[in-house]
């Protein structure tokens, strides 16, 4: 049993509570005397606040209080901290007040808060707060914001340039000089809205007698939230308890410390009642971070035989109006270091400018930096193939980094752990019947039907990551994980972890690990997470790190449990500890498995402690921390097949093949689920999704009516397969799988559409490839 549970697609233990409506998300919680907070938000993208009149609102029925930014400053609340300052980039960190006091810098910027007895009354009163604004000129485009004469957002940030970061490896100038061919592209990796199905919410309770603040919040990382809140709310860290109850998806958008977290704490303290804030979806679109938003000018150099020799680029990364928690790290470390992709490219250089604009802050969104890297590399490789009149599959094979098991250093300086890119690609080509597809494509083209085949081969950096590297690249925290394994007298196990899953299923996979390693029934294991007063410090769930890093800590604790149980068994069997063997939950003297002690026997004895060896503490509990020696680099090959209707511009996805390699798989059902979801999010970017601002800074895609979240009937069933190249970075050989689909699928589908349109002469279309854009591109090309 024990051996089989690892690697088996058992059903998730999370599900019964979710399927029956018993799970409690933040907005489902209600406390006695609980009040509701509503935020008054700026309708202007850039304006001076001339006056705020709150009297009328504060006299309305059920209103407990109306407050402004000044009230929060006076109560000792400080600006929202930025937790990632990339070194060697002259990063400017202008203050990010939780409520604007003098200037608003994006539509949705908070200007006041209202607390009422219910959400309707709070909203009514929020609408009655009168704010006089003096509009200022607005800039929403990152490139334009850096030009002479552009509106200036922050006093100490000339040309709105937050940072200028560079990555360099090899001699890119020489490489381009020596090249036979160069392909260039201007890529708009458009702004996206994360759209976790659960909007954000925060509920704060204050206990004056103890000084304790409890915050229930929609967070992916309660321990980071507590740490950051201790910096800006004036409450010391040990007096803050952050609980992430059930969290309805995050995709990065629930990593940051947001102004509303501080607002509810402020209001709960000031009014001495529990205060809850829940955003509406339309509020979410303005007040919760966005993702991507790069303008890229990139070029790739190659020899005429197709060997790639250099890649260089310039990127203007839109950061929005303020620095969200991790925003500077996304377009730099998580983007620029991945520019070699799966290819051997000796010479790489990129300049990245992080730019403030009058838009919602931009931060990590599923993939976070890596989709922006993978897309440009995969696009350029396809363009190079077209220019050289080579098959894009053949060109990729020529340039792959050969298989490696002990690290491979790329030009950007990072060391990939393990990889076999050609292996995954060959498998994908076979499943797709690539040769057959090309034949079919040629036949269809003869009939003026446009079938496209798109390839994306990728590797990505995740399993964040070694803490030393985190420090070196300016991340204001560690990136290790922790676990406590506790055996109760009856042999049942509770595990307390620092990660904070919210849909990824680690309650199940971590129980599978414990069951496999310690020989207990999987049903006898409970995994607890998401409460800073109950779980050990950990850095949370993002960057596909929970299993890759968290399981390392879990394995450390399991190892300690085994050692202690061995010592105890040796004592009881009157043998030497080194003579004790362990198999499937049983400890025995080597060669005498018939006289075994079970882990449950040892749990009971250690807990009652009637007969312990002299130097052994009672109890069977172990705690461990794990800081990985490197990141992990999952990889794979995706192939999309599309049909484009040249008359309407409509793109129909006919097939989608994904071969991914995340090392060892603990639960294949969960891994497949992660891949499915990722693919759909990435295809969303390729075909439909785009956050649009007008020149005055109004978000035109300001509700779900206007922003195209993919629907069920847009997709065929995906064809999935795996290869298995374990990592040596963690004890189980596992890599992350949370973001691969999103990273791989955008270029696969984009390349497929452009491949379909190549006979018509269409060379480029900005994403998303909506029917209108495709139709216009065809029409332009035909002229």
């Amino acid at each position: 049993m024990a051996a089989r549970i690892f690697g088996s697609g058992i059903k998730r233990r999370e599900d019964p509570r979710l399927l029956t409506g018993q799970a409690k998300y933040t907005d489902d919680l209600a406390l006695p005397r609980m009040a509701h907070l509503a935020v008054v938000r700026s309708p202007y993208a850039h304006a001076k606040i001339k006056s705020i009149r709150t009297k009328k609102a504060s006299q309305m029925l059920g209103v407990l209080g109306v407050f402004t930014g000044k009230d929060m400053v006076e109560a000792g609340f400080r600006p929202i901290p930025c937790a990632w300052v990339v070194p060697n980039s002259e990063t400017k960190t202008p203050p990010y007040p939780p409520i604007a006091t003098d200037v608003v810098r994006y539509v949705g910027n908070a200007v006041a808060i209202v607390v009422g007895t219910d959400r309707y009354r709070a909203r009514d009163a929020a609408d009655a707060v009168e704010v006089d604004y003096e509009p200022l000129s607005v800039v929403v485009d990152a490139f334009k914001a850096t030009q002479e004469g552009a509106p200036q957002l922050h006093a100490d940030v000339p040309k709105n340039i937050c940072f200028h970061w560079k990555v360099s490896g090899g001699d890119v100038e020489a490489a381009f000089k020596s090249a036979d061919v160069v392909v260039k592209e201007r890529i708009v990796n458009q702004r996206l809205i994360p759209n976790a199905m659960e909007p954000r919410a925060a509920l704060a309770q204050y206990a004056p007698a103890t000084g304790k603040v409890t915050l229930w919040a929609t967070t992916q990382n309660p321990h980071i939230a507590r740490f950051l809140l201790s910096l800006d709310t004036g409450t010391p860290e040990h007096k803050i308890r952050v609980i992430a109850p059930e969290v309805g998806g995050g995709f990065g958008s629930k990593i940051p410390h947001y102004p509303e977290d501080s607002m509810v704490i402020f209001a709960a303290k000031r009014l001495n009642v529990p205060v809850k804030w829940t955003e509406t979806r339309s509020e979410n679109y303005r007040g919760t971070i966005h993702g991507r938003d790069h303008l890229q000018e990139v070029e790739l150099a190659a020899k005429k035989d197709g060997k790639i020799v250099g890649l260089r680029g310039k990127v203007w990364a839109n950061l929005g109006a303020y620095l969200s928690t991790a925003s500077t790290g996304i377009p730099t470390i998580l983007h620029g270091l991945m520019l070699s992709g799966v290819y051997d490219i000796a010479n790489i250089h990129e300049d990245v400018w992080g730019v403030f604009t009058n838009t919602t802050p931009v931060d990590a969104y599923r993939g976070a930096g890596r989709p922006e890297a993978t897309f440009l590399v995969e696009r350029l490789v396809d363009m190079l193939a077209a220019k050289l009149k080579r098959d894009p599959a053949e060109l990729r094979k020529k340039n792959f980094i050969p298989p490696f098991e002990d690290g491979h250093t790329v030009a950007t300086g990072i060391v990939y752990d393990t990889g076999n890119y050609a292996g995954a690609f060959e498998k994908a080509l076979k499943i797709a019947d690539y040769t057959g597809l090309r034949k079919k494509q040629a036949e269809k083209r003869n009939k003026e039907e446009y079938l496209g085949i798109g390839i994306s081969t990728y590797a990505e950096i995740c399993g964040l990551g070694p803490s030393q590297v985190a420090g070196a690249v300016g991340f204001g925290g560690g990136l290790w994980e922790s676990a406590i394994v506790r055996f109760h007298p009856s042999g049942k196990v509770q595990v307390f972890v620092g990660i904070s899953p919210h849909g990824q299923g680690e309650e199940t996979t971590f129980a599978q690990i414990v069951a496999s390693e310690l020989g207990v029934s999987v049903d006898d294991v409970e995994i607890l997470h998401g409460d800073t007063d109950q779980t050990p410090m950990g850095w949370g769930t993002y960057g596909s790190r929970s299993t890759a890093v968290g399981s390392g800590a879990l394995m450390g604790a399991i190892g300690k449990i085994k050692e202690k149980a061995k010592t105890l068994t040796a004592h009881l069997l009157e043998a030497a500890a080194e003579d004790i063997d362990y198999a499937d939950g049983k400890f025995f003297v080597r060669g005498s498995p018939e006289k075994a002690k079970t882990i449950q026997d040892m749990a009971l004895m250690a807990n009652v402690a009637w007969n312990m060896p002299k130097d052994l503490e009672p109890g069977l509990e172990a705690s461990a921390f794990f800081d990985p020696p490197n990141f992990v680099y999952p990889f794979g090959a995706h192939i999309a097949v599309v049909a484009v209707d040249a008359e309407t511009g409509e793109v129909r996805l006919e097939r989608y093949i994904a071969v991914d390699d995340c090392g060892k798989v603990i639960n294949p059902m969960i891994v497949e689920g992660q891949i499915h979801g990722g693919i759909v999010q990435g295809i969303g970017q390729a075909l439909w999704e785009r956050a649009v601002y007008d020149e005055s800074g109004q978000l035109l895609t300001g509700s779900m009516t206007d922003y195209a979240v993919p629907k069920a009937d847009f997709f065929p069933n995906f064809e999935l397969a795996m290869t298995e190249t374990p990592t040596k970075v963690n004890p189980l050989g596992v890599k992350g799988i949370g973001e691969t689909g999103t990273i791989a699928s955008t270029p696969a589908v984009y390349n497929a559409v452009l491949d379909a349109l190549s006979p018509l002469g269409v060379k480029t279309i900005d994403m998303p490839l909506t029917p209108e854009r495709v139709w216009r591109a065809i029409r332009e090309a035909r002229r």
């Binding site: 059903k11 399927l19 409506g21 907005d27 199905m197 059930e246 891949i675 499915h676 509700s703 009937d713």
Partner: protein, 156 residues
Amino acid sequence: MNHSVSITVNGVSHRDEVEPRLLLVHYVRETLGLTGTKVGCDTGQCGACTVLMDGQAVKACMVLAVQADGSQLTTIEGLAENGKLHPLQEAFWEKHGLQCGYCTPGMILTACHLLERNPNPTEAQIRHGLEGNLCRCTGYQNIVAAVKEAGKRMRA
């Protein structure tokens, strides 16, 4: 001025005084405390708030509580009978048709109505039928498989 409404939810009758503007979803979640029904948007797109009203799947954020006066509602809490999961709940569990779980109550109730109208839907019909419910986690493939499987079991 408040209005009196009588609404039967999961077989239990309720009579409450409500503001005329109170959304049915807030009545269910906050007046009755049945928080299994979720709110995912404010424009009727996402379907997280779907409940069955007199057997029809409706988005409870697009209905006022006063409009539901006299009706019979089924929410996710009322689907399992005597602790036995509904075939849709079973199938979503087995086929891994959920991740974060937030869209799941609405998705299941929509699927319930779908299977009621068409007990043996094709995959395309299922995908079409779920168009009004958004999920950001699963990529829909396993949801479609779950609805298909549930249909099979309900026909048996």
